[in-house]
């Protein structure tokens, strides 16, 4: 292999190789070239997305740590803080779904651990192709099993998330895992290496050949060949992960570590070079001292291996004895593999000789590609939607049941029951609600978490969809009673080298940024996954937002299920603007993905969401739900199903809906969607208080809970039993 073939096989371009020559002032050897190849991959180097990511607002009153560390951190109150981040594991999960998903969970847990926080909650956003394809069923089944297999065993509850199916994800599933950790503000640790002569200690598992070049693999399109890259996928060991978590937390508690960093993509290379670059120091690694599980590994392989369950720590020499002792107590390996130096380089030694040395800064500064943002033609073609061509349903009961039974709207119990969502005994609101609610032991405080994504919406309108994604998360937190404070994201897109995906990426970021600014929820951490393409094309542009909110009194929260007979049900903030454009109804009932979904009015949305939250916080409302996919009627049906009480719409209400927001069409009135609506229910004795709270806002009393049927005028009349049968699907066909 000549040099050009060598760097090309490592995923580096001619331009990038020339840049390395320029930076070093000499030709790199193979080991050094390998370091650049992993650190300058899209996955580690963000070379296509970095210029766009700068748009995100990242600061706010609660923010203790913004982007650039292992996880973002926000202050909660009473000296508590939350560290959280979301990360993708799409490519590994496409070829080896169980281990791909499991190690995605393990990796994000260690990111949060690296901040010194105890991981206390997991969520995951999943996307697959439709289940009529065997391969999609296999990926779905194994990904869910992998998430459960790792999360359940390591003892961090999986408290929420979402699953959606669409043809655009066939063969390229999305597996985005989010972890939230809890920490005292004074105990936060950072990853910067400090103190010349301090020791670099590798904790946890031995290093093998698994996951070599995982980072570069994750930065390429998926093809037939991808199957042969199964060996690029790491294998997880949640038991070791659990011991590593307990050991690291104990080491921090005892004050034995200077800094801590997890080993993720690009292994020791990325951890050591990032720690060095952040601290403005150098790090020397003696590869011979890295405990190996395989024989004959080359220095380059040791440096870029992505073996799981490892952490890198900087330790003062006099404390190394105690560190080793504690590691032994927890049954995990610890090895001094290097030291902090003052030369600013990541230097690798083997057999006493320097076998490679590169300034850490150079590795951390991947070249940046600014590309032209131009609007793809498909957007205009798809936006035309003529409602006259959409036939009205003959039977609205059947339409409602078809929506409730569709894999994108039906109950997710068959997924979340495979996850332990209560270990830790902090989960106050279990999966199935708008957001998970967790308590903080020993305080009255709580926090809520949601993950949301709107791929189809972003496909039809990238900027509006990006904003609507953030808005949906804001609504979900608000209706459980939490005050949203910050978000993390995972940007899942196609190849940035192509016109449409790059345009989508840029516009989605713009929309998300505008919404984050309007809501005061800065982006404190995140991850980018590009090249989500197969031979069938790119996925829907799918930014996933993971948002965190705070409850001062966790006992004051709301859930969607109707709680009592005779409760009065009110729709707030939705109505006149509903549309079938890009709706679930249009896709599920009519098989069409078209139109221009309603653009959220961010200021108006915030006012309504803040009002709903205030009503929950004050104890006025304990039943609330946001209106989302399937529109008002599906939202009300979900509340009836969750609570086990029926509801009958007021006399004449259905007709008013059809004539008003339906503009003569009942399907538009019932199943039309817009951003910003909520449904709340209160007992009759609180009706006056509710009206007072709602003064100045548009709202609509729709009816009273009770009985075991759902009736809307003379168009819908179904029993809860029929709805339950449609809704309670086992998505795994069991």
């Amino acid at each position: 292999m000549n040099i050009q073939e060598t760097y090309a096989s490592l995923g580096l371009s001619d331009y990038e190789y020339d840049r390395i020559l320029e930076l070093l002032g000499r030709a790199p050897n193979f080991l050094e070239l390998s370091l650049f190849s992993v650190m300058w991959s899209e996955h580690c180097g963000y070379k296509n997305s970095r210029p766009l990511l700068g748009r995100f607002p990242s600061d706010g009153p609660c923010v203790l740590q913004g982007p650039g560390e292992n996880a973002g951190v926000v202050e909660v109150g009473d000296g508590w803080a939350l560290a959280f981040k979301m990360e993708s594991h799409n490519h590994p999960s496409a070829v080896e779904p169980y281990e791909g998903a499991a190690t995605g969970v393990g990796g994000i847990i260690r990111d949060v651990l690296a901040m010194g926080a105890r991981p206390v909650a997991l969520l995951n956003s999943l996307r697959f192709g439709p289940l009529d394809e065997e391969r999609n069923r296999y990926l779905f089944r194994e990904v869910v099993a992998g998430i459960g297999g790792y999360g359940n065993a390591i003892g961090v509850p999986t408290v929420g998330g979402e699953v959606e199916l669409s043809r655009s994800y066939s063969g390229n599933p999305l597996v985005n895992a989010m972890c939230v950790g809890l920490i005292r503000t004074e105990d936060l640790v950072r990853s910067r290496a400090q103190g010349e002569g301090n020791l670099v200690v590798l904790l946890g598992s031995k290093t093998g050949r698994d996951g070599i070049h995982g980072a570069t693999f994750a930065s390429d399109e998926l093809s037939e060949e991808s199957e042969s890259r199964r060996s690029n996928v790491q294998v997880g060991d949640p038991f070791m992960g659990k011991m590593l978590v307990e050991c690291c937390l104990k080491l921090l508690e005892e004050g034995l570590l200077v800094s801590l960093q997890d080993l993720g993509a690009a292994g020791i290379t990325s951890s050591a070079s990032e720690m060095a670059a952040k601290g403005g120091v150098g790090i020397e690694i003696e590869v011979d001292k890295v405990p190996l599980r395989e024989e004959g590994m080359e220095p380059a392989e040791i440096m870029i291996s992505e073996s799981q369950e490892r952490m890198l720590a900087v330790v003062e020499p006099e404390k190394i004895g105690q560190v080793a002792e504690l590691a032994e107590h927890y049954g995990i390996g610890s090895a001094v593999i290097g030291r902090v130096a003052d030369h600013g380089e990541l230097r690798i030694l083997s057999g006493g000789e320097v076998v490679g040395s590169v300034p850490a800064d150079y590795l951390a500064e991947a070249p940046v590609y600014e590309r032209e943002i131009s609007r793809p033609a498909y957007l205009d073609e798809l936006r035309e939607l003529n409602l006259d061509e959409i036939s009205l349903p003959e039977d609205y009961n059947a339409a409602l049941l078809a929506l409730l039974s569709h894999p994108n709207l039906c109950s997710r119990h068959s997924v979340f029951e495979q996850y332990d969502h209560q270990v830790g005994t902090n989960t106050v609101v279990l999966p199935g609600a708008d957001a998970a609610v967790m308590r903080i032991k020993g305080t009255s405080l709580g926090f809520a978490i949601t993950t949301d994504g709107r791929g189809r919406h972003c496909y039809l309108d990238p900027e509006g969809g990006g904003a609507a994604t953030v808005a949906e998360a804001y609504r979900n937190l608000s209706c459980v009673g939490a005050e949203p404070v910050a978000l993390t994201d995972c940007l899942n897109f196609g190849s940035p080298e192509k016109q449409a995906p790059y345009y989508q990426l840029a516009r989605c970021i713009e929309g998300m940024s505008r919404a984050s600014e309007a809501f005061g929820t800065p982006v404190v951490s995140g991850n980018v996954s590009l090249y989500n393409e197969t031979s069938r094309g790119a996925i829907y542009p799918t930014p996933i937002v993971g948002m965190v909110g705070i409850l001062k009194d966790v006992s004051r929260h709301a859930t969607p299920g109707f709680k009592r007979e005779g409760d009065m049900v009110v729709v707030i903030g939705s109505g006149p603007g509903v549309s079938l454009d890009g709706s679930d109804y249009l896709e599920i009932i009519h098989g069409k993905v078209a139109g221009r979904p309603v653009e959220p009015d961010l200021a108006a949305e915030k006012r309504v969401a803040d009002l709903v939250r205030e009503m929950v916080r004050s104890g006025l409302v304990d039943t609330a739900h946001d209106i989302s996919g399937g529109g008002e009627i599906v939202a009300v049906a979900e509340m009836a199903l969750a609570g086990g009480f029926g509801i009958e719409y007021e006399e004449g209400e259905a007709e008013r809906m059809v004539a008003g927001q339906g503009r003569g069409r009942a399907d538009l009135a019932f199943f039309g969607e817009e951003s910003g609506g909520f449904i709340v229910a209160v007992p009759e004795e609180r009706w006056d208080d509710l009206q007072e709270a709602l003064s100045g806002f548009a709202y609509d009393y729709i009816g009273c809970t009770g009985g075991d049927r759902f009736k809307v005028g003379n168009l819908i009349n179904v029993s809860l039993e029929e709805m339950r049968e449609a809704y309670e699907q086992d998505l795994f066909g069991g």
């Binding site: 659990k242 332990d420 270990v423 006992s555």
Partner: protein, 220 residues
């Protein structure tokens, strides 16, 4: 009252159990797997989780941990021992309880709240319940499918040693068994997690009915 919670590598409900012991008004005591010392506790909880990663078989490695020596002595001498979930699996592997826990019949992990009936109040861990009382308790397990041979099942039923029974079987357990006790009735193993419903903010305190039973000191 001092209540010990055994901690194996991979236990992950140990902290929850310690917290619940506090909630029930007793003194929690950590019992580390590598120490053959029960620290003079009055009762022991073997908590849930994935001891030793559940490698080989759930509970199969944990039963050889050093702490198990004094724990077995304590149990044989009539000391109250409660195994929850993985703890139940450990106690069957250690032969302190009969039978075994197999993979769930649908081969899937199951985490949900299930209704169980208290079949026997004649144990130190159910004496605070009413006989026949129904409780909603959470389960979360991969291997909760209770199995024993015909003769053992008959013995358990005849001697009233089925402690909890599912109203709707979530895992394929023989005779819908959710919990059993030993001949001496002092060692109880249950699949549901009472410590997860021992706090009003979590929506239920039903679990405390089970855990607090031991405080009443109803020795059999």
């Amino acid at each position: 009252m001092r209540i010990g919670v055994a901690i194996f590598p991979g236990s992950n409900c140990d902290r929850d159990a310690l917290f619940a012991v506090e909630q029930m008004g007793a003194d929690p005591v950590e019992l580390w797997h590598a120490d053959a010392d029960l620290k003079a506790v009055d009762a022991v909880i073997v908590p849930g989780g994935f001891s030793y990663g559940d490698y080989l078989r759930p509970g199969a490695i944990a039963r050889f941990a050093k702490v198990m020596g004094p724990l077995e002595e304590f149990a044989r001498a009539g000391g109250p021992v409660l195994g929850i979930c993985n703890g139940f699996q450990v106690l069957t592997e250690a032969h302190l309880l009969p039978g075994a826990l197999l993979r769930n019949i649908d081969m899937r992990f199951v985490c949900r709240r299930v209704r169980v009936r208290v079949e026997s109040t004649e144990t130190p861990w159910t004496s605070g319940c009413e006989s026949g009382e129904e409780l909603m308790l959470p389960v979360a397990h991969n291997e909760g499918n209770y199995f024993a041979d015909e003769a053992t099942l008959k013995e358990l039923e005849d001697e009233g040693r089925v402690v909890l029974r599912y109203l709707k079987n979530p895992n394929g357990s023989a005779n819908d068994i959710a919990g059993v006790c030993n001949e001496g009735r002092n060692v109880v193993g249950i699949m549901p997690h009472p410590e997860r419903v021992s706090d009003p903010v979590l929506g239920s305190e039903k679990g405390l009915k089970i855990l607090r039973s031991v405080l009443v000191g109803a020795r059999i």
